[in-house]
């Protein structure tokens, strides 16, 4: 979000939604003793992705690990932030520029890194249908490519590093159809719309996470069953990687016990069920092929509307995807309340006076310690160097044609904080405020 842990707006939130990273010093602590050339790291960071990634790259430098040997992913998908998750900082144009900068920098210096994970997960969690998740996510992909091409990048230089991230909700066959349609539609987009030459550019690779929003606070052990079936859909649909949610997802961050059951669910699917024995095992099923075709057709129809609006950034500025998702969420809620849709334990098969389950609580002292840490850092670092790197960053941001990554890396090396770097960029780019719909 671009604020340091001691910013007034951060109060009460430090360490609650993820590990607090204020500066390079925190990233050094996080990866202390972990050789970065021997692991792959996935970082769920979006609006500040250039900065967080730079911190990771500098830790690699300090370890003497060559960037060419680094593997991992940054989520780095701002479009779905405007549509769904709402953790944006800057307006769309400068945000898109920063993302294209990571594509360019990554393909040249960190070639094994996935510089974006184009995400439908959050769109679905915000209440979209399966079709909207698919259509908006793939169209976000189109938008990133078009912006990169306008900045002069060759499609085959960066497209093989584009990756996707989908949700796995409750409707087993609909979800499998969604994944199958995703591959088919993306192949057509890449070959027919963008005329890519490298076959790898047309391959859609994706991560899946089971649907947090489909789990219930009521009778939470039932969530183990839901997660297993959602994960099954993802595997049958051909996912490259998978995150199974914990049974206490609706209540808090997971306890170790709940997280282990989620991991074991994956291991049971992988080792005991045989579902990974072949590729696309449901191909040819009359029902699934029909669903897949319908999903593709719906997707092309959305693409036509988005093209007519002038692309995804323009559509976001008009509030189109936001309204679509919001209306779908409201319809879903009404269907539950009218019992057109049964959610076991919520609107039927209810148990009264359930005993509560154990949940994880984050100690409030975490925030105090983190605030102290960032304040100490500001006193002990070379503040002259911080100032000069921040000034260079500002000048670079004013010159629209330069890649911002080297300047951000310099700020990070000087131990400028995330909040300071973002403030400098806010001064040039401005801040996004969501219009009311």
């Amino acid at each position: 979000m671009g604020q340091d842990s001691d910013h007034p707006l951060s109060k009460g939130e430090v360490g609650k939604c993820g590990v607090a990273i204020d500066s390079l010093a925190d990233m050094e602590t996080l990866f202390k003793g972990i050789p970065l050339d021997q692991i792959s790291t996935s970082m769920t960071t979006n609006a500040p992705a250039t900065i967080i990634w730079s911190m990771y790259l500098v830790v690699a430098e300090e370890q003497g690990v060559h960037w060419k040997n680094l593997r991992g992913t940054i989520q780095n998908d701002i479009l779905k932030e405007y549509i769904a998750q709402k953790t944006y900082i800057f307006p769309p144009k400068p945000s898109m520029k920063l993302i294209v900068d990571t594509f360019e920098f990554g393909s040249e210096h960190v070639p094994q890194w996935n510089t974006i994970s184009i995400s439908g997960y959050h769109i679905r969690e915000a209440g979209s249908t399966a079709l909207q998740e698919l259509a908006f996510t793939l169209y976000d992909g189109i938008e990133y490519i078009e912006w990169a091409q306008r900045q002069g990048l060759d499609i085959d230089d960066f497209a093989p590093r584009l990756s996707f991230f989908f949700n796995a909700h409750n409707d087993l066959f609909e979800e499998i159809a969604k994944y199958r349609a995703a591959r088919k539609v993306w192949y057509k987009v890449m070959t027919e719309r963008f005329h890519c030459k490298n076959p790898k550019s047309a391959i859609l690779r994706f991560h899946t996470q089971t649907a947090g929003c489909a789990l219930t606070a009521q009778q939470p052990y039932n969530n183990i069953v839901r997660v297993a079936i959602q994960a099954l859909a993802a595997v049958l649909g051909g996912t490259q990687s998978l995150h199974a949610n914990s049974l206490d997802e609706t209540l808090a961050l997971p306890t170790e016990h709940a997280a282990r059951i989620a991991l074991r669910t994956q291991q049971i699917l992988a080792h005991e069920t045989g579902i990974t024995n072949t590729v696309d095992p449901l191909a040819g099923s009359y029902f699934l092929e029909r669903l897949t075709l319908d999903m593709e057709k719906g997707c092309w129809e959305y693409f036509e509307r988005l093209d007519a609006m002038g692309g995804m950034v323009a559509a976001i500025e008009q509030g189109f995807p936001q309204r679509e998702v919001q209306d779908a969420a409201y319809e879903y809620q009404k269907a539950i309340e009218h019992k057109e849709k049964i959610i076991v334990g919520v609107n039927d098969f209810v148990v009264v006076n359930e005993p509560p389950i154990e949940i994880l609580l984050i100690d409030e002292s975490v925030e105090e310690q983190q605030i102290q840490r960032v304040r100490n850092l500001r006193e002990t670092r070379d503040n002259g160097r911080v100032l000069s790197t921040l000034t260079a960053l500002r000048d670079a941001a004013l010159t629209q044609s330069v890649n911002m990554m080297p300047y951000i890396l310099d700020c990070v090396r000087a131990y400028a904080t995330l909040g300071e770097i973002c403030d400098e960029l806010r001064g040039v780019y401005g801040e996004y405020e969501e219009p009311a719909f």
């Binding site: 007034p8 009460g12 939130e13 609650k16 939604c17 219930t216 606070a217 209540l251 969501e434």
Partner: protein, 132 residues
């Protein structure tokens, strides 16, 4: 005089998860309430100021970030300072059971956890809002 129930729906803090807030805002609207949605990233001061300016009967807070024990009591403190004692304040979101007594002590009228229906929330507002 307009006797519609006036509701502020607000998202305090940095939390961007607004699915619940928007569903609540839409269902309040359909129930005939007058709804003002503040948008995201509101400070306690901004929310209380909105309640004051808009002459709200009800303030609905939506928090999914885990920051409710910092933000909600602060909002209640400011509400009292502004003399808004008869405004009904509700909280919805990811709120663990053990935090509910403390929130109610600070003046929050009711806490709605995951799975709560919009019908029960609307009924609660109708039964507990100040009389005009």
């Amino acid at each position: 005089m307009n006797d519609k129930i006036r509701v502020i729906v607000a998202k305090p803090g940095l939390d961007g998860h607004d699915r619940g807030a928007k569903i609540i805002a839409l269902s309040f609207r359909d129930a005939g309430f007058e709804v003002i949605y503040t948008g995201l990233r509101q400070t306690p001061e901004q929310i209380v100021n909105a309640a004051l300016q808009e002459d709200a009967d009800v303030v609905g807070l939506s928090v999914l970030s885990g920051a409710h024990m910092t933000l909600c009591p602060r909002i209640m403190e400011l509400m009292k300072k502004e003399g808004l004692d008869d405004v009904l304040v509700l909280v919805g979101g990811i709120i663990p059971d053990q935090d509910i007594p403390k929130l109610k002590e600070s003046g929050i009228a009711q806490v709605f956890q995951p799975g709560a229906s919009t019908e029960e929330i609307i009924a609660f507002v109708r039964n507990n809002v100040r009389q005009k």
